[in-house]
Symmetry: C2
Subunit: 331 residues, 2 copies
Amino acid sequence: MKKLINAPETVVADALRGMAATHPKLAVDAEAGIVLRAGGKVPGKVGILSGGGSGHEPLHAGFVGRGMLDAAVAGPVFTSPVPDRIGQATAAVDAGAGVLHIVKNYTGDILNFGMAAEDADDDGIKVETVVVDDDVAVARGEGAGRRGTGATLFVEKLAGALAETGAPLAEVAALARKVNERSRSFGVALSSCTTPANGAPNFALGPDEIEIGVGIHGEPGRYRGRLTTAAETTGIMLDAVLADLPEAAGDPVIVLVNGLGATPPVELYIVRGEVERVLAARGIQVARSLVGNYVTSLDMAGCTITVCRADEQMTELWDAPVHTPSLRWGA
Amino acid sequence: MKKLINAPETVVADALRGMAATHPKLAVDAEAGIVLRAGGKVPGKVGILSGGGSGHEPLHAGFVGRGMLDAAVAGPVFTSPVPDRIGQATAAVDAGAGVLHIVKNYTGDILNFGMAAEDADDDGIKVETVVVDDDVAVARGEGAGRRGTGATLFVEKLAGALAETGAPLAEVAALARKVNERSRSFGVALSSCTTPANGAPNFALGPDEIEIGVGIHGEPGRYRGRLTTAAETTGIMLDAVLADLPEAAGDPVIVLVNGLGATPPVELYIVRGEVERVLAARGIQVARSLVGNYVTSLDMAGCTITVCRADEQMTELWDAPVHTPSLRWGA
């Protein structure tokens, strides 16, 4: 295992200390794995909270700030945070208007966020939960259901922007669910990730093999294929995504071309160019797009593509100001 | 070679097409390798131009926009752009106040930018050149001199901000040289990069070996060492940087922890945390910092650290608004 780390057991706290040093507008409790906005609660605003296992940086802590999350709760690598920590962060961001939990669809997260939401309810804090399950590589109804991947960023951005306007919890939760329903993702890996605790790759790939339909925790893909061109690989990914995405005539899309951690910007931009070509040929207009490492899987090489069919409200919320370490625009 | 590309010979144009699709505020000529601001020349403003071989994305095209570059010229992978293209971009951004060329210190770039500057002069365009040579892994006076790496971002940001205020060319060039003189960098690699044309790594490293003092084109390091902890590795890098950086009593520093392409955010933030620890112990205050993939070396794993001793003017210019694809803040 070749990683710039100190020890497997201090990876998360060490990284959070680095985030704290870099971003003065975050309030970071590195040992507890809780990241809040430094300014404290925003009176009357719905609190937006997300979290999950670490190893997907900048998701979620890199998205804490005005216009997006109020809190991120970071568990150990690829392991859900415990309910107590989620509860602690929920209480910290409840300003009387309730809290939205944005939860990726994994068994541990569903369980732990569910328990935290119940406890919060006992304490008089209203919690709504949106489960993100956008990965079309998993069939509907299979096992624990579809995994949550790149659409999490869209849900966090758009729900965060709506909450900033003072919208009530029910409305913010409904928007978050709409964003998830209108988003689909698919990923390919050119290499496996290596977790610090295991020290060896989760799976082995031959020199010209890729894993197609891979998860963001080293879950193997739907099948294994040969690495050909970026054009062909992008075609496979978009075929899977678009086949599953309900038509919304005339609605443009927001696209995320997301690096899994070890794929450099030049390759991601090449994929982005192919996305443009494929979608244009299908008459789909890309209204907005984002290219970079946003939802990573430690040191995995490869990428995911997320497509979201955006209505007018969603495009406006996308354009709304956001001031976080890893997503930043507007006044 | 495992890369998301179409063919080695189309890597640069394909990536630039992806950038064009993603960033409507860029005017991209993908075939010529020229990226300008979509809005055209800014009357009376000094034009800020940089460029060089591709493979270091987002440097330089990702830094074109208000508050930073007016033009980036992208050569083939790890190969300087030809003088004609540099000249074409120089003419495109000269608004009567002259143009600053920001050139990383490599033989091909020095030669080609020099010829372009001479030609521009013949055409009545005033050009000043700043050569960036911040890599302390190369001894002063050795071979072609020190390589230009992470400090290029600092020079581009600060000179870009000063030019935006309407400052004259001589003043912008003097600031650019000051930033370079006050900046030092050092890098380590955990793996080599693989150029699309070669298809094989530039050097081979054992499972626990790292290359210390590596360049951003797969140039081997000063020596080879054993990978230990992030703390020890950071210590080695900062020792090299600080031993060479002139004291500037009381001046705080701006720090860049830069990923070389295949190192994920979680590891870069761990290094950032160690930087804070080492500098605090030496009584050096980090005024501002940046963590991410900014000056990459294709798919190399590893990182560089750049430290810049910033006076008050430099910190103010750092904070000035910047609106580019990969660096963005302020109104």
